[in-house]
């Protein structure tokens, strides 16, 4: 095992997939000479040049549309959209083109396109550069969505996404891209299957469903509660948001009888509500307490440390919710 930062892991995945498959290419703004906002594409550009790491004009709809057109004619584009907040100007390409073509054309066309974009709050970037859209996007049929929380998952999921053959939204959480510590990544070919959750920590008292950067906060809380109060928390990281690995979640709740969803999203329309609904139907008889959700409020994300830190779901709020389901 080697130690890689989150962005190094992503860079490695792109380099390896481009080496493996000549159909793979990157299309987006500032991915070439600049190597991507985080430099993660730098090596790929050095290796494969402007033909396969293509800088575009400031035209997100054209980036996504062109990626779709290339995908249905034999290429394997990775469309780099920088911030998920910009998906709004190519929403139709995702919602009505990439994800619907195969179905409405009778299953003949494949649309193997990967969309990568920075997600999440914590960088004081204000309302238009801080959103998490996993809940909103999972309402799009035909889309697959992944949200890695570790360097190993980041690499393994991106490689799987490139090979998947369907439109895959790949979220890169800002806090992991910027300040994510190095973490171990298996040597050699490393793939993480799309659609498989991972129990990031085993426990028996309460199940905490969480994803992306929040996973690390949940693990801290789990350690803390274990040490200080002997409470055993099971932390479930779906890794794939869509299609969701229901079984792993349900099995955990059937064991613990208690569920807290801990997600960096607005309260309404997020992943937390989806998981709560599934459990309230399919594991209802095992539940010993109400299903609690710890999310951001239904507001845009405010600028600045003073307010943003209040908006972001905190370890304190998670602990409070855990206490409630244990009460």
């Amino acid at each position: 095992m080697k130690e890689l930062s989150f962005r190094q892991a992503i860079g490695e995945a792109i380099n390896e997939e481009m080496a493996r498959d000549p159909r793979v290419f990157v299309i987006g703004e500032d991915v070439g000479k600049m190597g991507g906002l985080m430099g993660e594409m730098g090596e790929a550009f050095a290796k494969y040049g402007p033909e396969r790491v293509r800088d575009t004009p400031l035209s997100e709809a054209a980036i996504m549309g062109a990626a779709v057109g290339a995908a249905i004619t034999g290429m394997r584009p990775i469309a780099q959209l920088r911030f998920v907040d910009f998906l709004g100007i190519c929403w139709d390409e995702i919602m009505n083109q990439a994800t619907k073509m195969r179905y409405m054309f009778g299953g003949k066309i494949n649309v193997p396109v990967v969309i990568t974009a920075l997600s999440g709050a914590g960088r004081r970037s204000a309302a238009q550069h801080s959103q998490s859209l996993e809940g909103m996007m999972s309402a799009i049929p035909g889309l697959k969505i992944v949200l890695p929380s570790t360097s190993a998952d980041a690499k393994g999921l991106l490689k799987s996404a490139v090979r998947d053959g369907n439109p895959v939204m790949y979220f890169e959480h800002k806090m992991l891209m910027w300040t994510g510590p190095k973490s171990p990544v298996p040597e050699g070919e490393h793939l993480v299957p799309i659609g498989k959750a991972e129990v990031k920590r085993e426990g028996k008292d309460v199940t905490v469903f969480t994803a992306g950067f929040m996973v690390h906060k949940a693990l801290k809380v789990a350690d803390k509660l274990q040490q200080e109060r002997g409470i055993s928390i099971e932390v479930i990281d779906p890794r794939t948001i869509k299609p969701l690995d229901k079984e792993t979640i349900l099995n955990s709740v059937k064991k613990t009888g208690r569920l807290v969803c801990f997600n960096e999203e607005c309260a309404t329309g997020g992943l937390a509500q989806q998981v709560a609904a599934i459990v309230a139907d399919e594991a209802f008889d095992y539940l010993d307490a109400p299903i609690k959700r710890v999310t951001g409020p239904d507001t845009p994300i405010p600028y600045g440390q003073y307010l943003e830190d209040i908006w972001i779901p905190s370890e304190e709020k998670l602990i409070k919710a855990i206490d409630e389901v244990l009460a």
């Binding site: 035209s59 057109g69 249905i72 584009p77 139709d92 054309f105 193997p112 049929p141």
Partner: protein, 320 residues
Amino acid sequence: MVEIPKEKLLEMYRTMVRIRRFEERTSKEFAAGKIPGSVHLYIGEEAVGTGVIAHLKKEDYILSTHRGHGHLIAKGGRTDRAMAELFAKKTGYCLGKGGSMHIADTDIGMLGAAGIVGSGIPIATGAALSAHMRGTDQVTVCFFGDGASNIGRFHEGINLASVWCLPVVFVCENNLWAVSVPTSCSLKIHDIADRAIGYGIPGVVVDGMDVVAVYEVAGEAVKRARSGGGPTLIEAKTYRFRGHFEGDSGTYRPKEEIEAWVKRDPIKSFQEQLLGMKALTEKKIKEIDDEALAEMDAAVKFAESSPPPGPEEVLNGVYV
């Protein structure tokens, strides 16, 4: 037009007649309640798709529109499978799951009609990028209307194609109306082709009622694309003879305007042209027409006698 071989002229004539007859039959079946949803007919605009696509090979790509039956037929699509799709039958191009606005057939390079106006433009740029990266000589042709020329993707898609000098031809079928909105209310310029200036590519206006004129203009554009010369924007001035969709009373359009354009029926005038040059006889005209009518009878029979898709198709085909 001397240099256009007689066979090519006849082939184009036959294609236009087949499109016309397909659309007339579609209108009839729609009125009879055999076709669900909505259909937008190409009647009056046959010369555009026919004249442009006459230059394409099977491996070349086209992106079509909500008014796309003509493009499909000109690209070599089968009228029986097309009609079956309109009838929502399993034997249709999309297993009856797409309908008129979502017919595609990758085997003949037809990458799809469009329910969202203008969506094909950046996709066409992507198909052209793909051909370029794969090192083939495939050309992509993207059809869209005057209305679509006001959508943001027109700007982004054509600009990207021009910056990367990709093998694509953008064909604007300017039929003067976007449903009830005339170009006089949606553009302040006379020729949409002038927008090519903003992308540094050639922009050409052509009489969309004259298939030979379209053929000639398209020939240069396709040659330019295939030889690495980059994109062209062609504006074909044309007109839809019927309402926006079947069932549209279309009262917003002046009678005189409709009559004037119908007088310029692209099939009639081409017919006279061909008769004049003895490329066609009254007998041959009847023969071609009878064949077309018989083909459409067969298509409808095929569609009617075909089974509907099985219920499992509701869940099939979402993911690979």
